[in-house]
Symmetry: C2
Subunit: 340 residues, 2 copies
Amino acid sequence: MSNAYNRPDQLSPELRKRVLETARRLGYPGPDPVARSLRTRKAGAVGLLLTENLSYAFRDPGAVGFLEGLALACEDAGQGLTLIPASPEREDVAAVHRAGVDGFVVYSVPEDDPHLAAVLERPVPVVVCDQPRLDNLDWVGPDDRKAIKAVADHLIGLGHRRIGVLCMRLARGRNDGPATVQRQANASFHVQKARLTALAEEFSEAGVDWTTVPVVERFDHTLNSGASAAAQALEIDPEITALVCTSDILALGALREAGNRGLRVPEDLTITGFDGIPDAERAGLTTVRQPWLEKGRAAGRLLLETAEPSRPRHIQLETQLITGSTSGPPRSGEEFWFGP
Amino acid sequence: MSNAYNRPDQLSPELRKRVLETARRLGYPGPDPVARSLRTRKAGAVGLLLTENLSYAFRDPGAVGFLEGLALACEDAGQGLTLIPASPEREDVAAVHRAGVDGFVVYSVPEDDPHLAAVLERPVPVVVCDQPRLDNLDWVGPDDRKAIKAVADHLIGLGHRRIGVLCMRLARGRNDGPATVQRQANASFHVQKARLTALAEEFSEAGVDWTTVPVVERFDHTLNSGASAAAQALEIDPEITALVCTSDILALGALREAGNRGLRVPEDLTITGFDGIPDAERAGLTTVRQPWLEKGRAAGRLLLETAEPSRPRHIQLETQLITGSTSGPPRSGEEFWFGP
DNA sequence: CTCGGGTTCTGAACCGTTACGGTTCCTCCA
DNA sequence: TGGAGGAACCGTAACGGTTCAGAACCCGAG
């Protein structure tokens, strides 16, 4: 029976024909994929875990690029790609247990997320991406610290010493407003934390007291969030000359807010982003470009390429500082000479 | 054993604890999802078939919106969403057979696609979307004909009688160039065909000889394609006063081309799109908005809501003509009075 | 005619779970 | 105290394939 479908060479053509014939007559719909998977121990699909509100994955152009790359890698290997339903609110870890997949890609999930823990319990390979490296797990990501330090150096070089920062959510709980140094240090979203601490290091080194820098956090990742966060930062310290944003979306929102306030960019206010999404390049934003598609593809390949080696592999992606038209020297020239 | 994990109420807490304890000691990783699926006859996931080059699904903002809606519906139901790896070149129908899913959503797949046939053979519910209705299958989609007729009426009302059309691929084979009436009629991509034939009907009724209308087809769905197609249409008939595009992407490309040629829009050339993607609204494009997210959500819900009723359900989505700043009366005012 | 070797075909075991029915044992009431 | 009624627990039979061992068969060589 099985042979008739899968091993045509193992039996005579005429028997095969006869088998298939009666199978059709009996209304047999072909081998059941689940039973096959059970026996062969292969599900033929990889799972993708992203605990963010699912909409995020589709609204953020970077995430969509990642998804595309991952999907392409899966397609190349003839594997399906299963989106695990893991809404942040519902703590429904069961979905992770129920997923019939041969491995997981975990993308930018907070470290303390129960879904992540559930994934790690499953006896299948896992690749984490845009997250801290975990023991014995393959890893893909950019060097966030280095990447944003390039932004910091760029701004410091231009003479900025009084800055504000706009960042995405730092932990699972909602906090729309200033983020204390404490909260920054305890952030459970690795990428945001890495960028903030690297910024803090670099600006501290340039003589800036980081505790005085307004860091405004937003839960939602939208243009509106960016705009309102920019407004809030400017309210906390109207003297800032540069607004460093940890994502392009926030930066584009800030750009809009600056326009509404009649602030010229970069003459009155420098704004930088992070990610290198198409809209950012169109807007001439100073930002860091990261290879989204490649990131997804690398994650997929890592998972699918017979991850035999017992020691984890790390793929670090190159990033590139894009100097656009939204960054320039600060308003009052004298600040340029404030540095050590 | 099973009860310890799934039916805590069926046994005493202390036995349950003991079972779980020894399970952990033996290194038991929890119930196997595939075996569970086999037994319960539920895979806990729905499959999505879109035969387009996968990248299309992630690069087209409309498709991304659809995907988001579908993913949301699945998440609400705690179901996974599996992207079936069905590249158009590789005729690897096996992927459809291997997919462990409880049903399929088929999105904008050409009627003669072997993957579609394979899906129909599987004994699971199927919802088709942006496709012709199939016997006994649930269906979701807009009224493409009515929607584009609104565009046609808008243009006819403005006085346009000499137009060009830009459309997406009509069949699986590549054809970058004019599409004959024959090819239009034989198109295997339902949506494109519906829009073209509806346009033909409407303009014919207004006295336009459709066989003289340049219809330029493009395989790739990009801004560049739109631009080059616009150029080609204008080359075939430099006298056209309006360019009707069957997608916003093509229209935005055409807009760019018009700009490059120094044509004012809409004074020298009217351009219309279709889909209502965010970029189009930003550009002020005259277009038809369709509820992408709702479309995906409806498809998902239809599939998941115990499709018991034996007769197929149809969900027709509302569309809306958005009159933007890219459509106006034709250049030479006299044409306005050519109508009956 | 018998034996060996190859091919084709058949049957049974196994994959890991859940559903189901049977058994035990405890409790409560007459 | 006997019996009814449950609750808790346990054993077993599918679910639908794949795989593999070995039976049956065929054919040519000794």
